[in-house]
Symmetry: C2
Subunit: 348 residues, 2 copies
């Protein structure tokens, strides 16, 4: 009766998260022709009618894997849990509309704690004008597990996938990169100091911006509006949750292209840069592999260069190449470096 | 920094699952007029256009709370996890279309184990012609957590809520009740025997039907087709996941009505009846409070009596009354008994 007795045992860690997903989903058959896009992008795309599609995405957050309640206030966790899903809707070039919230709670949580969590969620809903339209609440035998589903809409044909990048397209990113990761490093540092000396107050002064990027990220709905106003439809798009390298490699793999990005073009905030130096971390590595920025990474046709070139929210960091040229970073000094997905691997 | 230090600490168990949900959701504000129905029913209802609505429901299943892998084969668990969500779409009078699967897995699980789980999910998708269109896979620090979201559609205006029951409406239920619960009792009994004597083979002979009801339930999509063919639109509907009493009380509360149901009308399978007797359980209690039947409980106008009266899939078990008459069971012998929700309470 023990289901874990298995002669052929392959450890999940041998495949990693993306390997497991590829393996499990390769035999999925689509039965409904309204399912325009199933697994493999930031959200599924479902046809409603000739004019509009519904976008659906879902994300699971596990205590001890995705968040640490020692330094993550529950209100912030609630806000962030919603925002990261809205970000996936944005990454499809859509506008978020509804969210569904499932929670597994242990008896360690009081009503007041759950209220804090929920307050953060409702604050995000208010901020983005999305509706908390359903969910499920149950008990957990151990830590907190959150599962959020978000829906959104866009005009049919306006949705942007990961697989549309073409050679010579420009690679663009919004905002700045690496800050959320560096905010996390500061929180981790202060947690260690607190564990060793519980009397010492955490020293977080001067780190406001990078802490906010970690604890209260935002979804770039404004960019979706901006792209519409500028009349630019990206050829591919993804949000930066696992790190720039990892996301760029997704676009390259799915679009069957390569890319070249330039170290000196990568956008970083001055506080993030200084923090990296202070912590003896390479700022470029933080930008490439840090993750949790929730900025949008997209490619546009070179024909759209004039429309985007002076926009302060968008940085052109490189261009798409032929597949066999690979995905590469051109450093400020030294030889070209192949990009590697060293980001988040929740199954390692 | 300890968020669990809280002077005002209210235990979640003081509220229970439904109390907590009521408390948390009472301040939700709807921002989009396409959100026709948010929390409080089997699924949310989202307007797509003048003709159609999308239904969305989500459910979280936690190892050790909702299932026990000692006797629940992973393939069956996968199948059941999908089906219970499709059942919620049916309970809105809709047809299921897509599912989204999130899983938190511990390293206790091998790839082969996850494949078993996924095979069961894909089998349910094949059976019901729904598309597995997305999800999330992550690691868990302890047990397995599944979070499933299902979507469906129906003609606008054809969706059925919990709040439309009117006095004199007939109370109807599909199939039979109590079997899934009694199947679980048999599995629990054999588990205990196995724990005490690992050499003894489990004795499951003759219990096929009730074991299948527990391990491989089905969603009543056929009833949605049947109701459409008969030209019957229920005035209210819910699926029986927590037990007949609990579900009837939801309908009564949301519709602001009472109800009277008759013990001798309640449908039970002969094997389930005999098993209840063998286990010294009251068959009626099993039907009222057992849960996990995934049958549909609905009310119809008395004008539809002729359309449904001879249908073998539907049993009329009572009628709706005025609110102040309460929700009652008329036993075969003895005085009227008020119905109580003694079903599943995942937070107790």
């Amino acid at each position: 009766m023990d289901i874990f007795e298995n002669k052929n045992r392959t450890e999940l860690s041998e495949l990693g998260e993306f390997g497991l997903i590829d393996h499990l989903t390769k035999n999925i058959k689509i039965h409904n022709d309204t399912t325009l896009k199933g697994v493999g992008d930031d959200a599924a795309v479902i046809e409603n009618n000739a004019d509009e599609v519904t976008l659906i995405t879902t994300d699971m957050l596990v205590e001890g894997v995705h968040f640490d309640l020692t330094y993550m206030p529950l209100k912030h966790l609630g806000y962030k849990a919603i925002v990261v899903n809205l970000s996936d809707i944005c990454a499809m070039n859509g506008k978020p509309k509804q969210v569904f919230v499932s929670m597994a709670l242990s008896n360690r949580f009081s009503l007041e704690a759950v209220e804090e969590l929920y307050t953060g969620m409702l604050l995000a809903c208010q901020q983005y004008k999305v509706d908390l339209a359903g969910g499920d609440t149950t008990s957990s035998t151990s830590g907190l597990v959150l599962s959020i589903t978000a829906t959104g809409t866009t005009q049919k044909g306006n949705q942007v996938y990961r697989d549309g990048a073409k050679p010579n397209d420009l690679v663009c990113v919004t905002g700045d990169l690496g800050s959320a990761y560096l905010g996390l490093q500061i929180l981790e540092r202060e947690k260690q100091i607190y564990i060793e000396n519980p009397g010492v107050q955490p020293d977080l002064e001067g780190f406001d911006y990078i802490l906010e990027r970690q604890l209260k990220p935002e979804a770039r709905v404004d960019i979706i509006d901006l792209l519409a106003e500028m009349g630019v439809k990206p050829t591919s798009m993804i949000d930066v949750s696992d790190g720039l390298s990892s996301e760029l490699l997704h676009i390259c793999k799915q679009s069957a292209v390569g890319c070249t990005i330039y170290e000196d073009k990568l956008p970083i905030d001055p506080v993030a840069y200084d923090t990296a130096r202070e912590l003896n971390l390479d700022p470029t590595t933080c930008m490439l592999n840090g993750g949790e920025d929730y900025e949008l990474l997209f490619t546009v046709s070179i024909d759209d260069f004039d429309k985007i070139k002076h926009n302060p929210s968008i940085t052109i960091i490189g261009h798409i190449t032929l597949k066999d040229e690979g995905a590469n970073l051109v450093p400020a000094n030294g030889p070209v470096i192949p990009l590697k997905a060293q980001g988040w691997n929740a199954l390692s």
